[in-house]
C-alpha cells in the first residue's frame, strides 16, 4: 500500500509522515480511547498504590521488537527511564517520575515524586522502543528504508497482535494536502492520510476511493498572550470571544467540516460537560465590552486600519489550512473595531516564539483528546511550549493532575471550564473534522466515526476489486 501524507516540510514534530511512520512501527504502552480513557496495549493492566505515587504496569509477555528481542520488564523499565530522562511534548508528566524499576517477570513499577494522573494518560503517547535504538519498535511494520519524511515499511511477522494484513507500506510525504490529493487522483498513492477540506467533496464522490470521516481531537484556538497591554484585559478577551461567530467560521472557514468549540476539553471525553455559560456570538456585547475598556475607534494617521486597538496574530507560513479561518476572524474582529494583523511565521521560528512568549496572539491547531494536553498548554510552567502568561487555571489544572477519582476530575474539569470562560486565555474556535481516503483495493473494515488508522495492521487487499 502507498500512503500519501500532505504536510509541509518542517512541520511540527509528531505530525505528518513522521507521525504516521511512528504509528505504524511502534506501539504505545496503553491505548487512549476516544472517550479519553486508557485501555490495554503493551501493558495489559495497571494499578496505583494507595498514595497514588506508584503505578504498576503489567506487561504482555509475547511482545517482540523488530530485531527479535523479547520485551522484558528490564527492557521496558530502561525504555521508560529514557523517556523520563528527556520528556517530550507527548510525555511531559514524566517529569514527576522519580524511579522506574522492573518488578517480577512481567511488571514495571513507576514511582512518582508527586501525584500525577497524567502519567497514566501519557503512557498512551509514550512509544515502546528498544533502549538506545529509537528506530526499533514493536509495531506491526518495521522500517525497511527511510529517506527523509518518506519511508518504506515491511510487515513485522512476529507482531504480537497478529501478522499484519499488508505485506508492506510506502509512505510518501507531499508539501501540501492538496498535492497529496492530486497524487491520489493520479493513482500514485492508495491512501490519503488526510484529505484537505477543499478536496473532501471530490474524494467522497470517487468510486475507486472510500473516504472515512471522523472528528479529529484537535481544536483551533486563537491564543492570546495575556501579557499584551490590551489583551491582558479580561473584558477584551471576552469581547473577542463574543465577536467571533464560530458557526460561520466552521461553515465558511472549514467548509462545514468541524464543530464549534467551547473550550479545550475534547467533547467526547468522559469528563466533558457542556459549559453552563458558553460564549455566544454577540458583536454588540463585544463592542460594549470594548467601550467599557475605553478602547475607542481612532483614525490612523499612517493609513493603517482605524481601530480600537491592534494586535498581531501569528500563523504558520508553511501551512495554509487555517488561512481562511484567520481571514474570517480578522474580518469579524474588524467588525467590532479590532485590527488583527496576520503574520505568517515559519514553523522553525514559531515554536521558539511561542515558548518564549514572543507573540501577541497565534492561530493554529492544538491536540486536545487527553487532559494531559490541556494541562500542558494551559498550565503555566517553565519551560513551556506555550508561554502565554496565563496563570488563572493553574490551580485547577493541578487539581486535575493530582486527582485519583473520576468525581474529582469531573469537578475540576467543570471548574476549569468556568475559569476559562471567566478569564479566557484564548478564543476556542472549532474542533476539526478530518477524513482519510483509501482505495477500494483495500479492505479497511472501519468503524463509524473512528480513525481508521487505529486498525491499519488489520487492513488487507480486497478480495475483488472492480476496475475502472
Amino acid at each position: 500500500m502507498r500512503i500519501g501524507v500532505g504536510a509541509p516540510a518542517g512541520n511540527l514534530a509528531g505530525t505528518g509522515a513522521d507521525a504516521l511512520i511512528k504509528i505504524l512501527t511502534t506501539d504505545p504502552w496503553l491505548t487512549n480511547r476516544p472517550d479519553g480513557r486508557q485501555s490495554e496495549r503493551i501493558a495489559t493492566g495497571w494499578s496505583w498504590d494507595a498514595a497514588g505515587t506508584t503505578l504498576r504496569l503489567k506487561l504482555r509477555r509475547d511482545v517482540y521488537f523488530h530485531d527479535g528481542t523479547l520485551l522484558t520488564p528490564e527492557i521496558a523499565a530502561q525504555g521508560l527511564r529514557e523517556t523520563a530522562a528527556s520528556p517530550r511534548l507527548d510525555a511531559l508528566s514524566f517529569t514527576s517520575v522519580s524511579s522506574i524499576m522492573p518488578s517480577g517477570v512481567d511488571s514495571v513499577d513507576i514511582k512518582l515524586k508527586e501525584r500525577n494522573a497524567f502519567v497514566l494518560t501519557d503512557l498512551s503517547g509514550v512509544l515502546v522502543r528498544m533502549p538506545k535504538r529509537p528506530d526499533v519498535g514493536t509495531g506491526p511494520f518495521q522500517i525497511a528504508a527511510r529517506n527523509g519524511q518518506d519511508a518504506s515499511l515491511s510487515a513485522f511477522p512476529r507482531y504480537y497482535r497478529g501478522r499484519p494484513g499488508l505485506t508492506g507500506i510506502e509512505v510518501t510525504n507531499y508539501p501540501t494536502q492538496r498535492k497529496a490529493w492530486t497524487a491520489l487522483m493520479r493513482g500514485d498513492v492508495d491512501m490519503l492520510h488526510e484529505v484537505s477540506r477543499d478536496a473532501a467533496e471530490f474524494v467522497e464522490k470517487e468510486s475507486t476511493v472510500r473516504a472515512y470521516s471522523f472528528l479529529r481531537p484537535y481544536y483551533i484556538p486563537l491564543v492570546f498572550n495575556v501579557r499584551h497591554p490590551i489583551l491582558k484585559q479580561i473584558e477584551v478577551r471576552k469581547a473577542i470571544n463574543e465577536a467571533l461567530d464560530r458557526a460561520a467560521l466552521v461553515r465558511d472557514g472549514l467548509s462545514g467540516r468541524g464543530q464549534t468549540a467551547d473550550g479545550p476539553i475534547w467533547p467526547q471525553h468522559w469528563a466533558y460537560a457542556p459549559p453552563s455559560a458558553p460564549f455566544v456570538f454577540n458583536p454588540n456585547s463585544a463592542r460594549a465590552r470594548l467601550d467599557g475598556a475605553r478602547l475607542k475607534r481612532k483614525a490612523s494617521p499612517d493609513g493603517t486600519t482605524p481601530a480600537r486597538f491592534s494586535f498581531t496574530c501569528l500563523v504558520f507560513a508553511d501551512d495554509t489550512r487555517f488561512d481562511k479561518v484567520a481571514v474570517l476572524i480578522q474580518k469579524q474582529l474588524a467588525d467590532v473595531g479590532i485590527d488583527m494583523k496576520l503574520q505568517p511565521v515559519p514553523q522553525k521560528e514559531l515554536a521558539p516564539r511561542l515558548a518564549s512568549g514572543d507573540f501577541e496572539a497565534f492561530l493554529f491547531e492544538m491536540a486536545g483528546r487527553s487532559l494531559s494536553w490541556v494541562y500542558e498548554f494551559w498550565r503555566s510552567h517553565e519551560p513551556s511550549h506555550l508561554n502565554s502568561g496565563y496563570r488563572s487555571a493553574d490551580a485547577i489544572l493541578d487539581r486535575i493532575r493530582g486527582a485519583l477519582s473520576d468525581d474529582e476530575i469531573r469537578l475540576a474539569v467543570a471548574d476549569l471550564d468556568r475559569v476559562l470562560h471567566e478569564d479566557p486565555p484564548a478564543a476556542f474556535i472549532a474542533w476539526q473534522s478530518s477524513s482519510r481516503a483509501v482505495s477500494t483495493k483495500f479492505d479497511v473494515g472501519a468503524e463509524e466515526n473512528r480513525d481508521i488508522l487505529a486498525n491499519l495492521w488489520q487492513w488487507r487487499p480486497a478480495a475483488k476489486q472492480g476496475t475502472r
Partner: protein, 590 residues
C-alpha cells in the same frame, strides 16, 4: 417436381414474410438514424448549455474583478481598506484563491493573500490594450489547473493599474459534476492547450492531475480534432465501450468573446445508454416482427395443412383408383373449389365404374363372339362332313368300302372336334405332360413327314433340316407333335402356294433349337407380340388358341418360344430347349 407445400412456403414468404422483414429492416434503420440524430442533438444542447454556464462563470469572475476596480475607482481607499476589500471578495467568492492589486509598473500594491502574493500581471495582458485578459490554464504547485484573470483599471483609480485574480478551477468541477446525461453521460472541459480542466465522471477526475495528459484518453483527442476541424460529434471507443461525444466551444457562446476563455466543453455518453431507448424500441419491433412472422407461418401452416390435406386425400384416392380399387371415394370438407373437385372426382369414379362395367360387358360379348365364331369355324367343317357323309351313307350303306371310308371320315372329324374341345380345355388348366428323353431330329422329321400331304395340297414345299448329330431334350412326344403341327400348319396357312416352310433342328451348346420359318405373308409388327395370347389369331377364322397352347407347352417343358416376322417376307418361330444328356430307354438299353 416441386411439391405444393414448397409452393405454399414460397407463397407465404413472398406474400407475408418478405414484406414484413423489409418493413422491419426499414423501420429499424429509420429508428437508428432518427435516434442518433436526436440523441446527438440533445447532447449537443447540453454541451452548449454547459459552455454557456462556463462562459457565464468566467464572465462573472471577470465582473467580480471589475467590480473591485469600480469600487476602487469610486472611493479613495486607503491601503488597509483596499486589503479589506480584496479579502472580503475572496471570502465572498471562494473560487478566487487570491486577488492582488498592481500598480502601473506591475508591482503589487495590495493582496488578499495572507502571505506574499504569488500573482503577477501577465506580460500579454500588459502588451495588449484589451480591458480584460484570461490567461491560459496552467497547473499550480499542486498540479491542479488554475487560471488568472487580469482586469485593466482606468486611470482614475489612483495609481493602480491592474487587478489580477487567481481562480482555482475546481469550481468548474462542481459545475460539471452536476451535469448528468442519462446515468453514465458526463461533461468535461478541455483547456485551450488540450489539457483537461474538469471532468464530471468522478473516476476520470484523476486525469486532471495527471502529468501525462495523453493518458486522459480519447476525449482529449476528440476535443483537439473539434478545435481543428469543427466537427462537433463523433463516436470512439474507450475502455472497451463505445462513446458518443459532442463538443461545444466556450468562446462561441460568449456575448463578448474577449471575456471568454478558448475552452471546449465535451459531453460524452456511452452509446449503449445513449441509444438504449432506440435499442429497446428495436428489440420490441424485432419481437413484434418475429411474432408476426411466427403467426403468419403458423396460420399459413394450419391453413395450408387444411388445404393440402384435402389435396393429399384426393391424391391418395386417385392412386387407389389407379390400383384398380374403383370403389374408393374421397370425402372432402369445406365448401370451396377443392370440395367441388372432390365431388367431381367421386362422380368421375362412379362413371368410371359404369364405363368399366360396359367395357367388360363389351369385351365378354366380343370374346363370346370370337369363341362362338371360332367354334363355328372349327366345328362346322367336321360336322358338315359328318352330315354329308351321313346322307351318302343312307344311299351307299351297302357299299362296304364306303362304310369303311365313312367310319374313318367320322373318326377323323371327331378327332378334329375332340382336339378343338381339348384346346379349350387346355387354355383353362395346365396341360398334362409326360416327359421323356426325346431325340429331336427324329420327332421333327416324323412331324414334317406326316404333314407333307397337307403341304402338297396347299402347294407348299415343306422340308425338315435336321442336325447332323442327335439332339436330346426332356419332352413329351405327343405334346411336341402338337407344337410342330401348330407351327407348321400356321406356316402353311400363311404361305402362298409355291412358298416354302422349313423346320430346322440345331444344337447350340447346351441348348437345342427348332426353327420353323416360312416365306409367307408375315405378321405386322404391332400384332407380333400378341400372337401367343389366347384367342388371338391373324387368320380370319378360328379360336386363335394354337400359338397360346404352343407357348404353354413349350414353357411347361422348360423351353422358350420367340417369333420374328417381316410382312411380305415371312415368319420365323424359334423354340429353344435345354439339352439333356439322358438317352431314351430303348436306346439306352440297346
Amino acid at each position: 417436381m416441386k411439391r405444393i407445400t414448397s409452393r405454399f412456403v414460397l407463397l407465404i414468404a413472398t406474400a407475408a414474410i418478405l414484406p414484413l422483414v423489409l418493413y422491419g429492416a426499414v423501420s429499424i434503420r429509420s429508428l437508428r438514424i432518427g435516434t442518433t440524430e436526436s440523441v446527438t442533438d440533445g447532447n449537443r444542447k447540453v454541451a452548449k448549455q454547459v459552455a454557456e454556464q462556463v462562459n457565464l462563470y468566467m464572465r462573472g469572475n471577470t465582473r467580480v474583478l471589475q467590480s473591485i476596480g469600480a469600487e476602487l475607482g469610486a472611493n479613495a481607499l486607503t491601503p488597509w481598506q483596499q486589503e479589506r476589500l480584496l479579502k472580503d471578495y475572496v471570502l465572498q467568492f471562494p473560487e478566487f484563491r487570491e486577488i492582488t492589486l498592481f500598480d502601473t509598473s506591475a508591482v503589487p500594491l495590495v493582496t488578499s493573500a495572507v502571505r506574499q502574493t504569488r500573482l503577477t500581471v501577465p506580460d500579454i495582458a500588459r502588451r495588449r490594450s484589451d480591458p480584460t485578459y484570461i490567461a491560459p490554464v496552467k497547473v499550480d504547485d499542486d498540479l491542479l489547473p488554475t487560471t488568472t484573470i487580469a482586469v485593466r483599471l482606468s486611470r482614475s483609480q489612483q495609481n493602480s493599474a491592474w487587478i489580477v485574480g487567481e481562480i482555482a478551477l475546481e469550481e468548474l468541477w462542481r459545475m460539471v459534476d452536476k451535469i448528468h446525461v442519462g446515468n453514465r453521460g458526463y461533461a468535461l472541459i478541455v483547456g485551450e492547450d488540450g489539457r483537461l480542466i474538469a471532468h464530471g465522471n468522478p473516476d476520470e477526475k484523476r486525469h486532471i492531475a495527471d502529468t501525462d495528459q495523453s493518458r486522459a484518453g480519447a476525449e482529449l483527442t476528440f476535443a483537439a480534432r473539434f478545435r481543428s476541424t469543427g466537427k462537433d460529434s463523433d463516436q470512439y471507443t474507450e475502455g472497451g465501450r463505445n462513446i458518443l461525444a459532442v463538443a461545444a466551444p466556450v468562446k462561441e457562446s460568449a456575448v463578448n468573446a474577449l471575456l471568454a476563455p478558448d475552452w471546449t466543453v465535451v459531453v460524452e455518453q456511452p452509446t449503449d445508454e445513449a441509444y438504449a431507448s432506440a435499442h429497446r424500441a428495436e428489440r420490441q419491433l424485432l419481437a413484434a416482427i418475429v411474432l408476426a412472422l411466427l403467426g403468419t407461418i403458423i396460420l399459413g401452416y394450419l391453413w395450408g395443412r387444411t388445404f393440402i390435406q384435402r389435396i393429399f386425400a384426393l391424391t391418395r384416392v386417385t392412386r387407389s383408383i389407379a390400383e384398380g380399387k374403383l370403389e374408393t371415394r374421397v370425402a372432402l370438407s369445406g365448401q370451396d373449389e377443392i370440395r367441388e373437385l372432390g365431388d367431381a372426382f367421386n362422380s368421375m369414379a362412379d362413371r368410371l365404374v359404369e364405363l368399366q362395367e360396359d367395357i367388360r360387358k363389351q369385351e365378354r360379348q366380343v370374346m363370346f363372339g370370337r369363341i362362338a365364331a371360332g367354334l363355328v369355324h372349327d366345328l362346322s367343317h367336321p360336322i358338315q362332313n359328318i352330315g354329308n357323309s351321313c346322307k351318302l351313307i343312307l344311299k351307299m350303306w351297302e357299299d362296304a368300302e364306303y362304310r369303311d371310308t365313312f367310319r374313318r371320315m367320322v373318326e377323323r372329324e371327331m378327332q378334329v372336334v375332340k382336339r378343338v374341345l381339348e384346346d379349350l380345355q387346355n387354355i383353362a388348366k395346365p396341360i398334362p405332360l409326360e416327359r421323356f428323353p426325346i431325340e429331336l431330329n427324329r420327332s421333327v422329321g416324323e412331324a414334317i413327314e406326316s404333314m407333307q400331304a397337307l403341304a402338297e395340297t396347299a402347294g407348299i414345299s415343306l422340308r425338315a433340316e435336321l442336325s447332323p448329330e442327335p439332339l436330346y431334350i426332356e419332352g413329351d412326344v405327343f405334346a411336341l407333335g402338337r407344337v410342330y403341327r401348330n407351327l407348321v400348319v400356321n406356316a402353311i396357312q400363311a404361305t402362298a402356294p409355291g412358298g416354302l416352310v422349313v423346320a430346322a433342328v440345331e444344337g447350340h451348346g447346351d441348348r437345342v433349337q427348332v426353327r420353323v420359318y416360312d416365306t409367307g405373308c408375315g405378321i405386322p409388327a404391332d400384332r407380333l407380340q400378341a400372337v401367343f395370347e389366347d384367342f388371338v389369331t391373324t387368320k380370319r377364322r378360328g379360336l386363335g388358341l394354337g400359338l397360346a397352347i404352343t407357348r404353354k407347352i413349350v414353357e411347361q417343358l422348360g423351353g422358350r418360344i420367340s417369333v420374328a416376322s417381316e410382312v411380305g417376307k415371312g415368319t420365323t418361330f424359334v423354340i429353344d430347349f435345354p439339352r439333356t444328356s439322358t438317352r431314351p430307354m430303348a436306346q439306352a438299353a440297346g
